[in-house]
Structure formats: structure tokens, C-alpha cells
């Protein structure tokens, strides 16, 4: 069971019409690979974020399948072209079934 999971995103509040913005996202998560053993030699069960999705006004922007080799606290940074004012919504899917969400509004001037 993942503990202390907290998503965070950074999106500029405004953008030029048709311009690109840099979006940064980070989620604190231990990303336990399932390959490690504890002090008693027992395998520590895998517990990772396995999918990360960003939508803009309901339209998919990126959809990432994530694998166990990804480091703790996964960080994604990407550029997006913003055609109109709207909302970016961010969703992370955990192995344990939890879903973490965040959203940010952006105004196009």
C-alpha cells in the first residue's frame, strides 16, 4: 500500500494563443520495483504508478504506461500547445487501484 502519495503539477496560469507551455508534474511515490528483497529475504511486492494520463478539455494529451524500472517520485515534464482557455487534468493510476488526480486551469489571452 503506497503511503504519502501526493501529486503536484506546475502549469502557467496564462499562455499566448497557439503558443506552447512547459508543464511539469511530479508525484511522490516509492515506486517499489518488485525486484528487491527485505531483510528476511522475502520479496517486497511491486507497488508502482503504472499509468499517467493528461487531458485538456476532455481531449487526451499524453498517456504514459509506466514500468517498474522508473525511479521513486516520478517526474514528467513536457510541452503542450494550448489552443484555447481550459483545464488540464492529470491522472495517475496506482498498482493498488488508487487513482490520484489534479487539475489546473489555463487562460489563453
Amino acid at each position: 500500500m503506497a503511503e504519502n502519495v501526493r501529486p503536484r503539477v506546475k502549469v502557467p496560469s496564462t499562455a499566448d494563443a497557439g503558443g506552447t507551455v512547459t508543464i511539469k508534474t511530479l508525484i511522490s511515490h516509492q515506486m517499489e520495483s518488485g525486484q528487491r528483497k527485505d531483510d528476511n529475504g522475502e520479496t517486497i511486492p511491486r507497488s508502482i504508478i503504472n499509468r499517467f494520463v493528461v487531458d485538456f478539455n476532455g481531449e487526451n494529451v499524453i498517456d504514459v504506461k509506466m514500468e517498474p524500472a522508473i525511479s521513486t517520485n516520478p517526474y514528467f515534464e513536457f510541452e503542450a500547445k494550448v489552443p484555447e482557455s481550459g483545464t488540464f487534468s492529470f491522472t495517475w493510476y496506482d498498482d493498488d487501484g488508487s487513482v490520484y488526480e489534479d487539475s489546473k486551469d489555463i487562460t489563453v489571452s
Binding site: L26, S28, N73
Partner: protein, 280 residues
Amino acid sequence: MTASLYGAVLLAALAAGAAYADEDADLVVNGEIEMTVRAPAPDHVEGLSEIMSGWLFRSDETQAVQMDDFDNPGMIFVDAGRETFNAEIGADGESCASCHEGPETLADVRPTYPKWDPERETVQTVEMQVNECVTERMNLPEWKYTGDDMVNMTALLASAARGKPVDVAIDGPAQSTWEQGKEMYYTRYGQLELSCANCHEDNYGNNIRADHLSQGQINGFPTYRLKNAKLNAVQSRFKGCIRDTRAETFSPGSAEFVALELYVASRGNGLSVEGPSVRN
């Protein structure tokens, strides 16, 4: 033939150049907190003319990570510390926030510790002070000196003080402890017979194998290290350094390390508190 050889030499020169840090850079965090990363050495530091933050010795990429709180992974732990600060974890439901309005009201703590505590008649580090609250006011078992709770809390206290100059007192009742720390700093330890000063005073700026030696300033602690992807307490770093000389080390929280921390902190009087900083 000559041309390709020249090309190879040029490439090698470029590669070597890239490994070096920008020692002329200025550190401004989030575009607003201006840090003092170089300052005249305090009078009590005979071996240095200028004191320099460890940030200056890191590569451009590592430097950049510390310039934005979103990019700085150490801030994750600051947030965790803030949660603990507000959580009612005490035996009778006390939290840090029941006595202290917020971490911001404790901004003078990090710059002035380790500090003489007149009641206990000893020099106290931030960790010892936190543990005093944890055990006496919250009636909890004491936190491990370099455990997660403790490091997160010291990171929170450091972040509240960012930009303030380190200003530890070395005179008065703290002086004998400071002298003990100074003695340790210049003592050669371990099979390699290295003192702190051999690397961090005589050879800062040089490489020790692949490591670019800094002055060993501790104004940036606790430090997020890329090599272990977590926050590292200053006394854990001391332990690592002494271990690297192939000596039996002292334990974090020991009287020896408290004295060393006071002395090393005093060598950075005038630099800004940077914690949580980012290093490799």
C-alpha cells in the same frame, strides 16, 4: 590523421570542461530568494580567504535543480515535514503547531544552531532541540537522529530560513565545544590519514578521483543527494566522510559530531541557509 587527432583532443577538452561547475554562478531560488553563495571568510577561519557554498562546485544541471522548488526533490520532504508539524501526534494530541504558530516563526533556528543551551548546559543541534520537544512536550519516544521524521523536520526548518545568513555563536560557553570541533577538523583519521582540512581546505576545487571537492560547507543541509535520491542529514555526511578515510566513525548525535557540526557550521558564517539543497 592530424585532423582527426586534433578532433579527438578537442572533444576530450570539451568533455573535461563540461564536467566542471560554473563557479561564477549566482543562486536565486524561484526567481526570488537571493542566496549568498560566496562571502569573505570569517576571522576564525585561518585557512580560507573566501567561503563558497557547495552549490558552486556542482554541475550546471545540478545547480539548476536547486533553483526551482518544483524541480528540487528535497521539497517533497519539506512537505512531509510540514504535515508532521501540523499532525496531532503527541501522547495527548499535541502537535508542533500547538506551541509554534508555523515553521516560518522558527526561521531563526537553522541559522543559529548548533547553539549553547543554558538549561541543559550543552551545545544543542536542531535535532536535539526537536527531540527535546518530542520527548518532553509530546511525551513520545525520541526520534532517530537521522531518521525520516527527523530529517523531514530539519528540512522544514531549514526551508523556512532559506536566504538567511548562517550565524552560529562560537564564543562564550560554546567555545570549548567549538575548540573540540576545530581539533577534530584538523585531525587525520583512518588508514588514509585524512583530515577534513586535507580535502576541504587544502584541495577544494580539485578532483579526488571523480569527485569535485567543495569546501565542505554545511549551509545546504539537509541535502538531497542524487546518488541516493533522499535527504541526507549533516551528521550522516560526516559519518560518510570519516568512513571514506577508512576509519571507525562516530555516530550521528554523538558529542564528537555535535562539536564538529558547530565548528563546520561556523566556517560558513555569512553564507545563506540553503536547505534542502541539491548535490550529487
